[in-house]
């Protein structure tokens, strides 16, 4: 078993127009920028992107939006100052935007990965983000029903990997990555380093290789991003 792919371009070569793609990352840590740049080179259309932020400047996700490749963004906090590509397209009516509370965003992805049909959360009750959603009283408290959220592909970023797709993370690289790795049909991991099977200690493997389909090693931090 060898899930290693030589380049990011090969790792994303089979993604079709209209695909739904999750991207991990919160700020630069854990954001698979090289995979996203390779995706830009594919010149695809009508993509649905699931990412916590709204892209930064004209690079990676910001660039993908600027290029007109994205039909819809499902996000939580896409309003940081660097997200001007999204802002401009959204205000011109050229991109759909669905905004979710951050805990609901990640839990919907977790539910999909864990095989659940959804969940009830107290977050959002009584606000405009719960409008039109089922509300149920449980033990005297109102909860909003939220559906699972899955994707065709997940781009994730980890620190070290082996050829079986076992992954470790450092510092705040985890964020959405271990969760998104469970929730897509094809999971592609961009990593800092690939090591031999057996070199990662079983205790430190946060994402077991069962969730991962492709692994590609890239140069670390080719461009520091304040936000994804």
């Amino acid at each position: 078993m060898d899930k290693c792919v030589p380049t990011c371009d090969e790792a994303v070569a089979d993604i079709p127009n209209g695909a739904t793609i999750m991207m991990g990352g919160f700020g630069p840590p854990g954001f698979p920028a090289q995979l996203v740049e390779a995706l830009r080179r594919r010149r695809l259309r009508d993509l649905v992107i699931i990412q916590c932020g709204g892209g930064t400047e004209d690079y990676a996700l910001g660039g993908l939006i600027l290029d007109g490749a994205v039909r819809k963004l499902i996000s939580s906090y896409p309003t940081h100052p660097g997200a001007w590509a999204l802002r401009d397209r959204y205000l011109r009516g050229e991109i759909e935007l669905e905004v979710l509370p951050q805990g609901t965003f990640v839990e919907r992805i977790r539910a999909a990965g864990a095989g659940l049909g959804g969940f009830y959360t107290p977050t959002g009750v009584g606000t405009e983000l719960a409008e039109g959603k089922e509300v149920r009283i449980i033990n005297g408290r109102p909860y909003v029903f939220e559906l699972p959220l899955s994707a065709d592909f997940a781009f994730i970023k980890a620190h070290r990997a082996d050829r079986w797709g076992n992954l470790t993370y450092r510092r705040t690289m985890r964020n959405f990555n271990p969760i998104m790795a469970m929730a897509a049909k094809v999971v592609i991991a961009e990593v800092d380093e690939i090591v031999a099977v057996g070199e990662l200690s079983p205790e430190e493997i946060e994402t077991p290789g069962i969730f991962v389909d492709r692994v590609v090693a890239t140069e670390r931090h080719p461009r520091l991003l304040r936000r994804t």
Binding site: P29, Y90, L97, G103, T121, P122, T172, R174
Partner: protein, 230 residues
């Protein structure tokens, strides 16, 4: 005299007991940590998966894999732990944080909170605001008492989009400390030299006065940082 933004943060820091697990929002809440009394173990939580956030990293010492929820390159305290976003929001929503200290656009007399979106804001973005407001054991608001245009932020009913209903327990401003008790706002403290009548005059809902009313215990400065406006 009204407090400075640092003065508000100082006042809040005195109320965080040893053993607190706290999420600090952007703005005034982010200033709280530096004013914690010596020897108090208070762990700061960050949405992107940290318990035990330390000070910002010195220039040149940034770890490119380590940021807080505000996107700042930070450090970790000894004893810090790291985890993924699902666990991070289980900590929040599951009621494990002892305190969330949040900024606000408006707070109503019932403790309704508006802090994520102003009317007419053209691109929406909510982040972790709603989860923190419903999940933390105590939601405290840190804000200036009135807007830049002098309008009250403490109101009968919020006119800005709600973050969560009935979640705020206490409001710390540059003029006062106010406790939310059912549908009542109880004036607990006033800033040095500020009268209860002056606080009421710039508050959009009635304040209840009690015999326990006291002056906010905030010195003019600590370590050279002014806590009261001149």
């Amino acid at each position: 005299m009204p407090l400075t933004r640092e003065g508000i943060a100082y006042r809040i820091a005195q109320d965080l007991p040893d053993g607190s697990y706290v999420n600090l929002g952007v703005g005034i809440p982010s200033l709280v940590l530096q004013f914690l009394p010596e020897g108090r173990d208070v762990l700061v939580h960050s949405e992107n998966g940290i318990l035990g956030v330390g000070p910002k990293a010195a220039a040149g010492q940034e770890d490119p894999d380590l940021v807080n929820a505000n996107g700042d390159y930070v450090t970790l305290l000894p004893g810090a732990s790291l985890f993924d976003h699902a666990l991070s929001f289980a900590i929040i929503r599951g009621g494990h944080l002892t305190h969330a200290i949040l900024g606000a656009l408006q707070v109503s007399r019932r403790g309704d909170l508006s802090n994520w979106k102003v009317p007419g804001q053209r691109v929406p973005g909510v982040g972790g605001a709603m989860d923190l407001a419903v999940g933390a054991q105590r939601v405290w608001v840190a804000m200036t008492h009135v807007t830049e245009r002098g309008e009250p932020k403490i109101v009968e009913a919020c006119t800005y989009p709600l973050t969560a209903p009935r979640c705020v327990k206490r409001i710390y401003t540059d003029l006062a400390v106010i406790r939310v008790e059912g549908e009542d706002l109880v004036l607990e403290e006033v800033a040095p030299g500020v009268s209860p009548q002056e606080v009421q005059a710039c508050t959009g809902a009635p304040l209840r006065l009690t015999a326990d009313l006291r002056e906010m215990p905030v010195p003019a400065e600590v370590r050279g940082v002014p806590l009261r406006t001149p």
